[in-house]
């Protein structure tokens, strides 16, 4: 796995998934700091994200939770003047070391954003297949692509709604469907980790419920990290919860413990609704 994201290795196709030791985290941060110019957005965060679990990152607006998430697939550095210090280990490999190609890394760490971002010039099918076009290795033929598109759309619980209109524009479906389309697009390349940045922030309650059910299902096959400022959502979908405040990680625990007996008074104040 670690070689698959390294520049030196020829793009000979998908690396075999490693044998997972039960306790091995899929991703770890070590003394991670993130900056926008002089703004210190993430301060000294050391965290483990266990494999095949859903980890929710909660906290008030501006606490650095989205920035932390964007450090995990090196999207933070795409913003001018943004920089990162510290380490992020992906299956043991520091993704900020010089031999890691961020583009290759992002093919293994999928991401879905706050607002649906379907590519407006592409059909529903081509949207789902978009990530496949930049995968290394041999080009897939049409039938293989169709099979992957179907699998991803089924995984995203969207197949039944769009299977008769795969060739139509992706902007013609509802916002909730567009967001599930973006999830399908991220799933098509079989990422090891899926990062969700407030994926239901712009959705109606029914669509939100569908996405939440989906997240719950996904952890059978991958590690999911979801940023949300909706505490009920964190309680519903996640196995572990991380609470952040002013760029610092205040507390991390299993979701049940976090929402019943938090150990830090600030966490308790937040989840009981005294601020935020």
């Amino acid at each position: 796995m670690t070689e698959a994201i390294a520049r030196s290795v020829s793009p000979a196709g998908e690396a075999p998934r490693p044998v997972e030791r039960p306790a091995a985290p899929a991703m770890e941060t070590r003394a991670l700091h993130a900056y926008f110019g002089v703004t210190h957005a993430v301060r000294n965060v050391t965290l483990d994200f266990p494999s095949n679990e859903v980890t929710a990152i909660i906290g008030p607006s501006g606490c650095g939770k989205s920035t932390l998430l964007r450090c995990l697939n090196r999207m933070h550095e795409t913003i001018p003047l943004a920089r990162v210090e510290g380490e992020v280990l992906f299956h043991g490999q520091n993704i900020y070391s010089s031999e890691v190609d961020p583009i290759a890394l992002r093919r293994h760490v999928g991401m879905v954003f706050q607002r649906p971002t379907p590519f407006p010039t592409m059909s529903i099918r081509d949207n789902v297949a978009a990530g496949l076009r930049v995968q290394p290795g041999e080009r897939l033929d049409r039938r293989q692509v169709d099979a992957i598109v179907e699998r991803a759309l089924k995984q995203a619980a969207l197949w039944d709604e769009v299977k008769d209109r795969l060739k139509t524009s992706a902007t013609g479906i509802s916002g909730g469907q567009q967001q599930r389309l973006c999830i399908a697009r991220a799933l098509a390349t079989s990422p090891h980790i899926l990062l969700l940045d407030e994926p239901t922030a712009s959705l109606d309650p029914l669509s939100t419920q569908k996405v939440e059910e989906l997240v719950y299902e996904l952890r059978k096959s991958m590690t999911v990290i979801i940023v949300t400022h909706n505490m009920q959502q964190a309680a519903r979908v996640s196995d572990r919860t991380v609470f952040m405040l002013s760029g610092e990680m205040v507390e991390t625990a299993s979701t049940r413990v976090m929402f019943t007996t938090p150990s830090d008074p600030r966490t308790e104040a937040y989840i009981t609704g005294r601020f935020g």
Binding site: N73, M75, T78, P80, I103, A104, R106, R107, G110, M111, F113, R115, T117, F119, P120, T121, S123, A130, G131, R133, V134, Q135, S169, T171, C182, R185, A186, T189
Partner: protein
């Protein structure tokens, strides 16, 4: 008071379209009589002979537009993409400023320049020199429209592509440029329309040709040149031909716009509207 304002702006809007309507109306009145199938298929005839057409000039103008586009579009779109995606740098500001200056450059200056550096060293007038001269005039127009249109593509689409593992260059070409394509085509058409009617730069470069030529290295006929030559002639038949030529020139630009829009729309769906 606001009624007065509405009335004044409405009047200004009406007056603004008067020149276009007047030009079109007068062109049709004067030129339609000389238009016939012959005009599109046959060559100019000597003075005194009936009929004759501008087939060579129509084909010549299409060839010149083709050469100009193959010079102006890649450079203009590339430069516009650079300005939009890397706009903050000192080089970008310089390019943007120079593009605006180039845009304001009188076309005859472009013609003289092309003569000095393309015609004189080669030794004779040519379609290539003419196409290059008007192609250079397209560059600033296409650059600025591309920049504006690419800027309207939301940042979130770039991020979505990068997060999928698209390298930056493929994000720019396959996602950003494609999304902005509808607007860019509109800008390109404005540029084509503008240079299709240019006469001054062609006087020194393409020169015109009384015969049918499609050779890129030889002088070539062009509608605006032919209109110019016929209009300053002393013969009434030629004057009628000049009016018809002007009408065809406008129609040609219109047809190119309609076809390009149709192609873009059917290829990329309604998302580009």
């Amino acid at each position: 008071m606001s009624y007065v304002m509405v009335a004044l702006t409405c009047l200004a809007a009406a007056v603004a379209i008067v020149p276009l309507i007047a030009i079109l109306g007068y062109l049709i009145k004067q030129g339609a009589g000389a238009l016939s199938l012959d005009f599109f298929t046959s060559m100019p005839k000597p003075v005194g002979e009936e009929g004759g057409g501008m087939a060579n000039a129509i084909v010549g103008t299409l060839i010149l537009i083709g050469i100009a586009s193959s010079v102006g579009l890649p450079i203009g779109i590339g430069a516009g993409l650079y300005l939009a995606e890397r706009g903050g740098t000192r080089l970008a500001n310089l390019v943007r400023f120079l593009a605006d200056v180039l845009n304001g450059l009188p076309s005859i200056v472009m013609g003289i320049f092309a003569w000095e550096f393309l015609v004189r060293p080669i030794g004779h007038f040519s379609a290539l020199a003419g196409g290059a001269a008007i192609g250079a005039m397209m560059i600033p127009l296409v650059t600025r429209t591309t920049e504006e249109m690419v800027r309207t593509v939301p940042q979130s689409l770039r991020e979505a592509a990068l997060a999928l593992g698209f390298p930056r260059w493929r994000t720019s070409l396959q996602i950003v440029l494609r999304t902005a394509l509808g607007g860019i085509v509109t800008g390109v058409l404005v540029a084509v329309a503008r240079v299709a009617g240019e006469t001054a730069p062609l006087l020194f470069t393409a020169f015109g040709n009384q015969f049918f030529s499609t050779k890129l290295t030889q002088p070539i006929a062009a509608l605006p040149l032919q209109v110019f030559v016929y209009a300053i002639s002393p013969y009434d038949e030629w004057h009628a031909q000049a009016w018809a030529g002007a009408l065809v020139l406008i129609a040609l630009v219109l047809v190119i716009s309609v076809i390009s829009r149709f192609v873009v729309r059917s290829k990329h769906g309604r998302a580009n509207d």
